[in-house]
């Protein structure tokens, strides 16, 4: 089911539940130093490429590291504390998500939290770092209320296409403006 209609409908539907901006976000303290750095860079990209140029202000406030006593749990979505969580691919939560939807996930984003399953090893390559950053940017897009797009040249592309995008593109900006209006 392709075409431009679906993303538009999805954008309008999400727009009916647009979160107030800026949104607070934390970064899971269990991420490695490399992962924290890239997650924080993804937050900056959201502000520099979406918030500031399109709305005139930041869309995310980085509240630093967050320690959850028992790691991510389903109900953390509803605790009003936005966190970029590291989700262990062997955890019960990931297993439930993958089994329920019959697919694997590199990340998962809702208006409640962001989950990142893809992880970096001790000495990540540039490609692995770019991959991780794009996954975080993609899920942060959902955290901001953005839907998927069918355009390959967008961070919010729904498939597993380009993974070397280092920032949100004009296609992402267009989707963002569908949801937030951008003052127009």
């Amino acid at each position: 089911m392709g075409g431009r209609g679906l993303p538009l409908v999805a954008a309008l539907a999400l727009g009916a539940c647009t979160p107030d901006l800026p949104r607070n976000i934390h970064v899971d303290a269990t991420f490695s130093a490399d992962e924290v750095e890239l997650a924080e860079e993804a937050i900056r990209q959201a502000n520099d490429r979406l918030g500031v140029p399109l709305l005139g202000h930041a869309v995310l406030v980085d509240n630093g590291l967050y320690t959850d006593a028992d790691g991510f749990h389903y109900d953390d979505f509803g605790d009003d504390v936005g966190v970029i969580y590291a989700l262990d691919s062997k955890s019960a939560e990931y297993t439930w998500l993958a089994d329920t939807n019959d697919r694997d996930y590199q990340g998962y984003g809702t208006l409640g939290d962001v989950l990142v399953t893809v992880r970096l090893g001790p000495n990540p390559t540039d490609a692995q770092r770019a991959h991780f950053r794009q996954v975080v940017m993609h899920e942060l897009g959902h955290y901001l209320g953005l839907p998927h797009t069918s355009d390959h040249d967008a961070v919010m592309y729904s498939g597993s296409g380009r993974l070397e995008l280092d920032t949100y593109t004009s296609k992402d900006q267009a989707a963002f403006c569908l949801v937030y209006g951008c003052g127009g």
């Binding site: 539940c17 389903y74 979505f77 509803g78 439930w96 329920t100 809702t110 409640g112």
Partner: protein, 210 residues
């Protein structure tokens, strides 16, 4: 005025004018004609002259279909509950019944009961629809913080004596703002939906009619 206060005030205001004379000055109809326009009172099968049918009742029960807390998320739905209710109708205007209920430890409900069906001494209301104000804690999936639920259900009433009935009601509660739940919880909202479906309350009790 907060809604619970409004609901109580409304129920008292509706229930208070118990005498038909209170309404007569507004119409030229004699009492006999007025009685002829009403449709029976309180399911007692007789009389049929009341302007307002008032029923007060108490019920108790729980969520019989709720699964044991061994799933991926512990259930936060009341396994037992008690409900006190007042049901009011004005037969001259409509057979529909408005119910105001109080569920201790949870909140207040306002329901419109319809879909009436009478089978001998049993009166069914097959489509009850309303709202529930979670003044203390939601009955179903209380881990999802909210103030308002939509409530749907059905019920039955078995007339035992002239003024006394046995009553049974099923009620299911779900967050009114279900879209926010889906966008916040993503696919794991399915777990919430499952708990809502299995967490419906089944109440049995007694009611007194005026």
């Amino acid at each position: 005025m907060r809604l619970p206060t409004l609901l109580v005030a409304t129920s008292i205001a509706v229930a208070a004018p118990a005498r038909a004379d209170d309404f007569l000055p507004q119409t030229a109809l004699p009492k006999a004609a007025l009685a002829a326009t009403s449709h029976g009172g309180g399911g007692d099968g007789g009389g049929g002259s009341s302007l307002i049918d008032l029923t007060l009742g108490v019920e108790a029960g729980g969520a019989p279909l709720l699964r044991a807390p061994d799933g991926p998320v512990a259930a936060t739905t009341a396994r037992t509950s008690v409900a006190l209710f007042a049901r009011v109708s004005i037969p001259m205007i409509s057979e529909r019944i408005v119910e105001v209920s109080w569920v201790p430890r949870h909140g207040w409900g306002l329901m419109l009961e319809s879909g009436d069906l009478r089978l001998g001494a049993v009166k069914l209301h097959l489509l009850d629809l309303g709202v529930f104000y979670d003044s203390t804690s939601p009955i179903t999936v209380s881990r999802v913080a909210r103030r308002w639920d939509v409530a749907v259900g059905a019920g039955a009433e078995l007339t035992m004596r002239r003024h006394l009935s046995l009553v049974a009601d099923a009620r299911m509660f779900a967050p009114i703002d279900i879209w926010s739940v889906v966008t916040r919880y993503g696919d794991t909202a399915r777990l919430i939906g499952d708990e809502i479906m299995h967490g419906g309350q089944l109440w049995v009790g007694a009611a007194y009619h005026w």
